[in-house]
């Protein structure tokens, strides 16, 4: 866990350790208020735990045209690289963690794995779970102009993890 925290924050990610589900919900709602909506959420178990009010469930890419914040589940995290793992199954899809400039991922503590090796051991049949699995390691970035790093090119520039017990 502390390795994940270290790696994730070194990449520029913002980590919030929620003491309980209510605190998690409060964090998300505060963020939405401060940064502005619209916010859309994926209807997945970890996200549902928060009991968010007034945030619509993701139903398709037409929802994303103007969305500012995408709230998704993180199915796993990889500690040694600060990576989030998201399966596109059920209410998740592929684009919610991608199109909105701010991405909030809800992660259950027990889902933190050591590394990619452990993920592949745990989910050797991951292609059967969903059509897409993505490993997200920090915000979107490029150094294509004079090797100068710019964060937030096509994907989110800001990434938050809300850690549930």
């Amino acid at each position: 866990m502390s390795e994940f925290a270290r790696e994730f924050t070194a990449l520029g990610g913002k980590l919030f350790e929620a003491s309980d589900d209510a605190a998690a919900r409060a964090y998300v709602e505060r963020l939405v208020k401060e940064r502005g909506g619209p916010a859309i959420a994926a209807r997945r178990p970890s996200v549902e735990r928060l009991g968010l009010q007034g945030i619509p469930w993701y139903a398709g890419r037409q929802d994303l045209a103007a969305a500012n914040i995408g709230i998704t589940q993180a199915d796993y995290a990889l500690a040694n690289t600060g990576t989030l793992v998201v399966f596109s199954e059920k209410g998740e899809g592929r684009a919610l963690s991608l199109l909105p400039p701010i991405h909030i991922a809800v992660l259950e503590r027990s889902r933190i794995l050591a590394s990619l090796d452990e993920l592949l051991e745990r989910e050797p049949d991951f292609p059967s779970r969903s059509s897409a699995m993505v490993l997200i390691t920090g915000p979107s970035r490029t150094a294509d102009i004079e090797r100068t790093l710019t964060v937030g090119v096509h994907g989110p520039g800001e990434i938050h993890v809300v850690l549930l017990g």
């Binding site: 059920k90 294509d144 096509h154």
Partner: protein
């Protein structure tokens, strides 16, 4: 312009020289640091080499397995014997779906087959979405580096381009602003494109999973938002099984940019499924041959197909560092380009290319899949002089005389004496070329063996 002239042009471009030195040394330094931080790096390289050897030596079987696996998950597969066939297939998808705009993520394979040119001709707008590729598309240029296509362009170049082509005025020092402009402009294209086209970093034969590695997010957008995703894959990109993924993914980003993992690694196993709110309805994988099976058929050079396109060899190559990507005859540059181009395009396209290397071996040292690039260059040199003797008449004669001389120490001594005697005034070939830019060594009065004889075997 031939190779020599393109080299001259590159050497004279001082700004380019600065950019190349900074890019190459920058990249190779972070790669070295990243590799040094992995205790079993050498073992990983060996395992990757072994996995690639297994696939490339049994390529037809693995391609069959991959095809079946992709289809089992609702994807479509097209085997393209060459670029024209691949383009035609893509063209058919465009017509069937009435597509006007295509968004593309970075793919050397699509550069190889000149897909954009074909699409434009067919009345479809191809939009490059990788920032570096977008910049060179605006400039009408080929990629300069396998993973950093616009690295030769300064911020001033880019600002000027954006002004000319997008009619937007930006301060050259506002690099974030330029990126934001690209983001805004391209976002609209992502949302309206009828097809997204990507490359493939690797594909798992066992499961039919296509893997795409990137930092910007544009490849994810190309493969998530449009209703159709076409992945163009060089047939050598297959890997056998899921566990092999860990080996290659540990090597790829570190070798390319010194990152542990790139920002996004996507694993795509078919079109969207029941219950998934988004994703493409159609998923096509094009198996691009374009001369690769010819390489595969030659056991002496087939390891060139192990390449995972990390670009590490470019960054350490003294030749690439001076001449840059545009001096090479084809889309693949650097050491990997020097062994691939002659095999796919044929040696006739640029017979000098395999010789444009000092054989320093830096590439061999950093290649994550342990391709013995210098050995392959030597192989190509031998092939060139043996299959195109007409291009080497004088050189062959010179080496015959040289060999005759070197087998007889009396002749060798005589030759040495003559060379020392002629000294600076030796006008012939090599000495004249040398003397254009360097002083010739001062000929000594005696050879070593003459001195040795004078002194006797004890001092």
């Amino acid at each position: 312009m031939g190779l020599d002239q393109r080299i001259d042009v590159a050497l004279e471009n001082l700004h380019l020289q600065q950019a190349l030195t900074s890019v190459c040394r920058g990249f190779y330094t972070v790669r070295e640091q990243a590799a040094a931080a992995v205790p079993d790096w050498e073992e990983l390289r060996s395992r990757a080499n072994a996995a690639k050897r297994e696939v490339i030596e049994n390529l037809p079987r693995y391609l069959d397995q991959l095809e079946a696996a992709v289809k089992a998950r609702g994807g479509q597969v097209f085997r393209a014997v060459d670029g024209a066939a691949a383009c035609r297939y893509i063209g058919e998808v465009m017509s069937r779906r009435n597509v006007r705009t295509v968004v593309k993520s970075k793919s050397m394979a699509t550069e190889e087959i000149e897909l954009n040119h074909f699409l434009e001709h067919a009345g479809v707008e191809p939009v490059e979405t990788d920032l570096g590729e977008y910049i060179i598309q605006l400039a009408g240029e080929a990629p300069f580096h396998i993973i950093a296509p616009s690295i030769h362009k300064t911020r001033y170049d880019v600002a000027k381009l954006f002004k000319e082509k997008l009619n937007v005025d930006l301060d050259p020092n506002d690099i974030p602003g330029m990126c934001a402009l690209a983001r805004r402009t391209l976002r609209e294209k992502f949302l309206n494109a009828g097809v997204g086209i990507s490359g493939v970093n690797m594909a798992v034969a066992e499961t039919g999973t296509v893997v795409i590695v990137e930092n910007e997010g544009n490849a994810r957008l190309c493969t998530s938002v449009p209703p159709v995703h076409i992945a163009v894959m060089g047939i050598e990109k297959v890997i056998p099984r899921v566990p092999d993924l860990a080996v290659f993914l540990k090597l790829l980003a570190r070798s390319a940019t010194g990152q542990k993992l790139s920002s996004y690694t996507s694993f795509l196993s078919g079109p969207r499924r029941e219950g998934e709110p988004d994703g493409p309805e159609e998923f096509h994988v094009i198996f691009l041959d374009n001369g690769r099976s010819k390489i595969q058929a030659n056991p002496r050079t087939r390891e060139a197909l192990y390449c995972i396109r990390c670009g590490a060899c470019l960054n350490v190559c003294p030749v690439y560092r001076k001449i840059g990507g545009h001096a090479y005859p084809w889309v693949y540059s650097g050491p990997i380009g020097a062994i691939l181009s002659p095999q796919i395009q044929g040696l006739d396209a640029e017979p000098k290319l395999p010789f444009a290397s000092s054989l320093c071996g830096a590439c061999r040292e950093v290649c994550p899949v342990k391709i013995r690039i210098p050995e392959l260059l030597l192989e190509l040199r031998q092939t060139e002089v043996e299959t195109a003797p007409q291009r080497h008449t004088w050189e062959r004669l010179a080496f015959r005389i040289w060999a005759w001389t070197m087998q007889r120490s009396w002749a060798y001594e005589l030759g040495g004496l003559m060379a020392r005697w002629l000294g600076d005034s030796m006008p012939l070939g090599p000495a004249a070329v040398w003397a254009k830019t360097r002083e010739l060594p001062k000929p000594p009065a005696n050879s070593f063996r003459e001195l040795w004889r004078k002194r006797g075997s004890r001092p």
